[in-house]
Amino acid sequence: MMAVTAEASHARTGARVDAGRWIRIGLLIAALLALPLVAPRYWIYFAGLLGINIIATHGLNIMMGYTGLLSLGHAAFVGVGAYTVAILQTYFGMPFWITVPLAGVSAAVIGVAFGLPSLRIRGLYLVIATLAAQFILQFVFVQWQSVTNGDVGLPVRPATVFGYALNNETRIYYLIVAAVIVMTVFARNVIRSRVGRAFMAIRERDLTAQVLGVEIVSYKLMAFALGSFYAGIAGALLAYFNQFVNPEQFGLLLSVFFLSAVIVGGMGSILGAILGAAFMTLLPELLREGSLLFGSVFSLDLGTVLTPLRETIFGLLIVSFLLLEPRGLAQLWKRARQKFSR
């Protein structure tokens, strides 16, 4: 009897919570659309960058947070996406609605090519393979002069929608917001399905997952391809956002950046990926502001200090979150909400 009542009341509050949630989602979307009307351009620029980082972080979170596949080469797959756009536009004149999906696909294909041999085995091999991807792909970006234009990189013309060029922060902001919403919902749907449960099962106990009928290798491949696809889409948007691509953007430091974003946000949480990406996107800005302040006091050379300062802080974040709060900001957020709702 007891159980039945509990169930029924749960269902009823569940419906009410659902309605409340839709209202909140509606408000959030309205706020996102209205943002450029009220916020300064500088903010819109960061919102765009944040959106791109959220998509890339979702990708790494799917691999690492949900499936337990550590990748040290995520930045390189973002680079593959960005270069795909630049190359398809420069040499074939393709419009963005073709180049963006193809950027995702090419990143997924190249990701799988690097991951395939090691995904068949357990252990550290994938880490080495992704590290190899990081260095080899960046090497290709630099050395394949005839196509990538080497260190100088390639210019990218703005994307155009119905003859309307997305040539400033605000215009491309809307494209990015749309992409973030679609990619977030997609990731959430996958995670809550049979596929996502299989990912997590592999992360926790792969042999047991097998007994339940999960074919480990194909699901690992799926997770790796999906995560690289997200990286590719992020890279494509980044190319249109910056209107250029060069190899320097996609170094090991950016891979560490995404690693930090996933860990800080909370591995295996969609909200965590968003929080982590937000934290990590805003952090360098705060650092820059802070070092501007302190730089004048200690007369530091900003250009040379900023990059190592980032490296230090990223590393500190990775280590301290892994040590102290492995479930990341998402967990802190959850705890804070529980406290307030009481």
Binding site: S193, R205, V211
Partner: protein, 286 residues
């Protein structure tokens, strides 16, 4: 050369020519398994037959090869000889996940639940083979996936959660549950695919007598409600004797007796193997 009539092949023909009635009543046939790890024999000539809708138990002292046998049946170990047949189909060389698709499920001696996931999600994983959604259908939230998930939820709530009394904990993380409850979640996960054969690996290991009685009740309930065929290995004699229809006794990787609980209990070889002495009644061994 009469190479086509190799002894191996002939043997298979023999087994296929088992009386039709046997194939009809046997859900799982494990025949003449030989398993060795680098010269150390773990199983020598073990055969176990599980009859449809019955509870068959494999017992034996520690190191008798019970867990090895289960790992052979699940497909983790490849035996040097012998075969495993599920509902008339030879599954001897199939990978573990393929066996799951054929209707085999199991629990584990050391609980193997997925941490960081809710009880409900753990149970849903058990239905992996019954669902069809791929990554695109799931990601775009297509009707196929929505319907599938809705039906799965309904089935679990209707058939599993009530039967195993898990309603109050289904939204908890599995790692937060008490030991006995975790064992029950594992049973739920193994049941949700509606398996043809349910393998239970020491279902009451480490439980107190209250929890043991509960687990026995659940296993009997599963058999009664769903007519599931059960094969279990267990240390605990009292549980085995009270719920089994058929018992096989292993000792040092060899079968030494089989029959119904009363026959096994009375078998002097069993008493000797289990206790090292024939003086005490087996019932109290656990």
């Amino acid at each position: 050369m009469t190479g086509t009539d190799s002894p191996d092949k002939g043997g298979r023909h023999d087994i296929r020519r088992l009386p039709a009635s046997a194939a009809r009543i046997l859900m799982l046939q494990v025949d003449d398994i030989q398993l060795a790890f680098g010269g150390v024999k773990a199983l020598s000539g073990v055969s176990v037959h599980a009859e449809k809708g019955k509870i068959t138990s494999v017992i034996g002292p520690n190191g008798a090869g019970k867990t090895s046998l289960f790992n052979v049946i699940s497909g983790f170990y490849t035996p040097q000889a012998g075969r495993v047949t599920l509902d008339g189909e030879d599954i001897s060389v199939m990978k573990p996940h393929a066996r799951a698709y054929r209707g085999m499920s199991r629990t584990f001696q050391n609980i193997a639940l997925f941490h960081g996931m809710s009880v409900l999600d753990n149970i849903k994983l058990g239905a992996h083979t019954n669902l069809k959604s791929g990554i695109l259908s799931a990601g775009f939230g297509l009707p196929l996936t929505r319907r599938e998930e809705r039906e799965l939820d309904r089935d679990i709530q209707r058939d599993i959660v009530g039967l195993l009394e898990l309603d109050h904990v289904q939204h908890h993380y599995v790692e937060d549950l008490a030991y006995g409850l975790q064992k029950r979640v594992e049973l739920a996960r193994a049941l949700v695919m509606k398996p043809k054969i349910l393998l239970l690996d020491e279902p009451v290991a480490g439980m107190n007598s209250e929890e043991k009685r509960e687990m026995s009740r659940f296993v009997l309930g599963v058999r009664k409600d769903w007519n599931t065929t059960v094969l279990l290995i267990e240390h605990d004699m009292s549980m085995v004797m009270s719920i089994s229809d058929h018992v096989v006794v292993l000792s040092f990787g060899k079968p030494i007796a089989s029959g119904n609980p009363d026959q096994v209990r009375a078998n002097p070889d069993v008493i000797k193997a289990y206790l090292g002495t024939a003086d005490e009644p087996v019932q109290n061994a656990a």
